[in-house]
């Protein structure tokens, strides 16, 4: 049930929170949502709603080089829809899951508006994990360019 809410409630700010640290969003035309990290509240710790099944060390987990599964709970962040908190699961250097442990009790209109999740930025350590992707979106791939494309690799793997 919680999963449903994740994608239909406001995941957008959440994702920015997680990955906004690692990327520059200070480009021309930065929209309001992308500046959300500035609103980060320093409240951290586990949430009562979090079904944490792993040891929960804090701090940044993405730089870890071990293969241990780690779950990191982020700070509660105030968004225009209410407080949001997320939990990251990493295995070694690989991000395996993102769960929203606290989300705003927005009205249904908000839920409709925020129908689509924001993209999650991929950093170097997480790049090229095509095995975890079903389909690729990119600037028009022509039939000629297809053979070199990631999508071709995916299609091959599945055929």
């Amino acid at each position: 049930m919680r999963r449903i809410v994740i994608w239909f409630a406001s995941t957008l700010t959440v994702v920015v929170l997680l990955f906004g640290y690692h990327t520059s969003t200070n480009s021309p035309g930065t929209p309001a949502a992308a500046s959300a990290p500035a609103a980060t509240a320093p409240t951290s710790g586990s949430s009562s709603a979090a079904p944490s099944s792993s040891p929960t060390p804090s701090a940044s987990s993405i730089g870890s080089t071990s293969d241990a599964t780690r779950t990191t709970t982020g700070p509660v962040v105030q968004t225009r829809w209410g407080p949001v908190q997320v939990e990251l699961t990493t295995q070694g250097r690989k991000l395996t899951d993102v769960q929203v442990v606290q989300y705003p009790n927005g009205n249904s209109k908000d839920a409709e508006i925020n129908d689509y999740a924001l993209p999650v930025l991929v950093k170097d350590t997480l790049a090229a994990q095509s095995a975890n992707i079903d389909m690729v979106s990119g600037a028009t791939v022509t039939s000629t360019g297809y053979l070199q494309s990631l999508q071709a690799a995916l299609d091959d793997a599945g055929l």
Binding site: V16, T25, G29, I113, S130, G138, A139, S149, L150
Partner: protein
Amino acid sequence: MSGTPAGTAAPDRVHRFVEHVMGLPISLALRGRHADSAEGRRAWSDVMAELAEVDRVFSTYRPDSFVSRLGRDEVCLEDGPPEVAEVLTLGARAERESGGSFAVRRLGPEGRTVLDPSGVVKGWAVERASRRLDALEATDYCLGAGGDLQCRTLDAATAPWRIGIEDPYEPSRLVAQVPVRTGAVATSGTAHRGAHLVDARTGRPPAGVASVTVIGRSLTWADLDATAAYARGRDAARWLGTRPGRSGLVVWADGTTTLVGPSA
């Protein structure tokens, strides 16, 4: 090493199909009851047949297509299939809503006005063809065409389709991922074809932006908005933020990124 979180049904095995039409690779991923059934394969054939027909009517690379003849004033709009009028209407609406950065009639390289509805046709055609898959019971699909895609997931307990967004500077890598249950993802940029997209207001390629990805309900509009936003150059993210119900990602020319949330 599954990324499937507890409480979510394990995804069914995904079956994939690939063919080429309109000079584009068309990829289909199916999971569920008809992923590997005769009915599933028939629906895939129907999708390809429909896209081939769209190509016959709309291709600007075929001098004998209806749209090519329309561009040379050899035929009237009323002489062609109703889909041509539909596409041109969509193009006109996109032109209005983009403030003119997108247009199907624009200045060509020699200063002549050319009719090029390709910017509408791709997303529109793939969304339309995806309806051939809607009849497949208990089956989820993700239909992609040259980097734009439309997906459906029937059961809210199934994991969403995981969509990778290409790095425009290194197309063998991903710059982001986005989960989509039912909806569309379109990306505009110049990674694979060189500078073929222009701002219709100036006739020149936009500056400052490398690619724009739009996620929304309809591939027709995700594609139109990605193209229009890209054409606006440094204004891409701000403009995209004004569009209802979309989210997106802009990769700038300097490699930095801006995430765009749906406007409230």
